[in-house]
Structures are given as structure tokens and as C-alpha cells.
């Protein structure tokens, strides 16, 4: 554990083992990592398993982390990569395209848990990379340039994926919200 990281965390480096600092990091960032993975995989137990792997990798690379900001960036990057790798193993591949997903039958208010669940399901129908881009944009509030650096792809590609994904999602959601109706 570096002195800089311990100092940033307000902890005296001489008095703390790596395990305690690591535990503090897990508790601080578990919601972020778990949510990225859960929204991507749409399976709670699989998400916890994969989120655990992300943190175990953090433990293995603890000495490389230079600051809290670096840690957040590192966790998002590893979580994204592991999620996309997971779909490449076809474990959570969805077989129903977004276009084939049936719409709900009645209008639901935006805060309704059913609508929230429906939106999550729609997200699950997107392909892996666009799905992760939507999660990083709307869960983590990242700008396209930040997403581009995280996923190691051109900004134009990120924007293109975002634009098309939003168009698809909007099309599926347009009739459920009264303000979208002509």
C-alpha cells in the first residue's frame, strides 16, 4: 500500500495492513461495481460472483493503484472488461432482440418499479458493448470521452453506439410516457 493512498484515505500507513485498507475500498465501491455488473448481466448471484472477481483482481494489483480516483477508474475498467468477456463466453447471451421485446400494455409512471424493471430488461437486449456504454453513461454519469478511454475505443464509435441505443430504447419506451405522445 502506497503512502499516497493511505494518506488520501486519512489512514496512517504504518498502522494499517493492506487487508484493512482493501476492506475499506470494497465497502466504498461495492455498490458501483456490483451495479455495473448487475445492470449488464441482469442476474444478481452472477453479478455478485463477478463483482467479487473484480475486487480480487484489485487486491492482486493493489500496489499499482496511485490514488482514489485511479482506483475508481481501474475498477470501472476491469468491471467493464469482465462483463464483456462474460458475454463472449455466451453464458448470458440473450436470444431475443430488442425489436422483438414486447411492450407493456399500459402507461406506467417513471418511478414505477415495473417500468424500472422493463427498462433494465430492454438494456439486456442491447449488444454487449452498447449495453456497457449505456450503463457507464447513465449509471456512472461518464462523458463519451471518458467512456472511450475506459473501453479503449474511438469517441466517435462510443457516440454512435450511444445514439443508436438511445433511439432503440426511446422507440420501445415512447408509448409508455404521456409526454412522448404526439
Amino acid at each position: 500500500m502506497t503512502n499516497s493512498l493511505a494518506q488520501e484515505a486519512g489512514i496512517q500507513p504504518a498502522a494499517v495492513g493492506i487487508t484493512q485498507a482493501f476492506e475499506a475500498a470494497v465497502r466504498e465501491h461495492q455498490a458501483m461495481v456490483y451495479s455495473v455488473v448487475y445492470h449488464f448481466l441482469q442476474d444478481r448471484s452472477a453479478a455478485e460472483e463477478l463483482a467479487q472477481e473484480v475486487f480480487l483482481e484489485l487486491f492482486r494489483h493493489w500496489h499499482e493503484i496511485e490514488s482514489r480516483a485511479h482506483r475508481v477508474y481501474w475498477l470501472r475498467k476491469v468491471a467493464s472488461r469482465k462483463c464483456i468477456d462474460q458475454t463472449r463466453r455466451r453464458k448470458f447471451r440473450n436470444h431475443v432482440s430488442l425489436e422483438e421485446t414486447p411492450e407493456p400494455f399500459t402507461w406506467m409512471p417513471a418511478t414505477d418499479p415495473l417500468l424500472k424493471r422493463y427498462i433494465e430488461q430492454l438494456l439486456g437486449k442491447l449488444q454487449d458493448v452498447p449495453r456497457m456504454i449505456v450503463i457507464l453513461r447513465y449509471q456512472e454519469g461518464l462523458e463519451p470521452a471518458e467512456i472511450s478511454e475506459l473501453l479503449e475505443m474511438p469517441v466517435a464509435t462510443v457516440k454512435s453506439h450511444l445514439q443508436r441505443s438511445l433511439a432503440l430504447l426511446r422507440k420501445k419506451l415512447s408509448f409508455v410516457s404521456p409526454e412522448e405522445k404526439p
Partner: protein, 178 residues
Amino acid sequence: MRWLLFFVLVLVPALASGQALKLDSLDKLAAKASDTVKVSLDGGLLRLAARFLSADEPEEAQIKELVKQLKGVYVRSFEFSKSGDYLDSDLDAIRSQLRDAAWKPIVEVHNKNDRDNADIYVKEQGDHFTGVAIIVAEPRELTVVNIDGVIDLDGLAKLAGNFGIPDEIRIKVERKRK
């Protein structure tokens, strides 16, 4: 003499086969565009892409089949924040290539007032299409697509179901086979 014959037999079919359009002249528009999509997949990269397509997903399986005989897939698509950010003359280099005798226009929709134009060209060799070029030029969006290689007519017709290729185009393809 035998060597010469060998090279002719090898080279002539290769030369006669479809050649990709040169789209580089459009790349300068990226500087003015608010959004740019640039795809250039050919040779090893196209084959690599095809290997990563899923045989379990219907659309990807169809693309995988279509791509088998393709040499390249090229897209340049630009969105602009205001009309007039690109000129008709920016397409001159593309259109001059399409004036070659090998290319035949099969759809031309031109609206001079709105600058809202669309063209589809095909390249034929015997019973096969060896190239497709699509140009859609709108006030704030410009897209050029070039697919190079032997295009399977049945495959293209099947793709219509998933990707919304209009019936008119599909019918044109089927009539061509007869």
C-alpha cells in the same frame, strides 16, 4: 510462355473481380461533422470480424453467411450540426468512380430543392453482383456505403427480413436472377 499464361489465368479473374471504391476523399468531412462513423473492414480484419459473429444469433448468423464471399465492407457516415457543412462537390470523387461502365445505377432519387438525394449502384459480373454502393445525401447527414465482393442474392433477400431492406430492392434482386 507457360509462366505468362499462368499469370494471366491467375491475374485476369482477380482484376475482373469487384474492386472497392476509394472513400478517402470523404475523410476530411470528419473535421466538420458532429458525429462520424468510419468502417473499413477488408481482408484479414473482415474475416476476423466474421469469426467473432455468433452462430446462435439469427442476424449475426446471416451476416456471417453473407460475409463469406465479401472482400470488404466500407462505411463513411457523417452528421452535421447545420445544413451546408458539406458540399455536393465533396462527393465528386465518389461519383466519378461510379461513372465507370462496370457500375449500374438501380435506384436514383434526387430532390434538387431539398438536397435530399439517394442512389444505389451495383456492379455485375456474369450472374453475380460483385459490388453495391449506396449514397444517401441529406442536408445534415451524408452516408456512403460500399460492399465489395460477390454478393449472394438469396442472402441479400433474406437479410431484408431482418434489416428492413425495402421490397422494391428485393424484388429487383430476384428479377435479376431470372
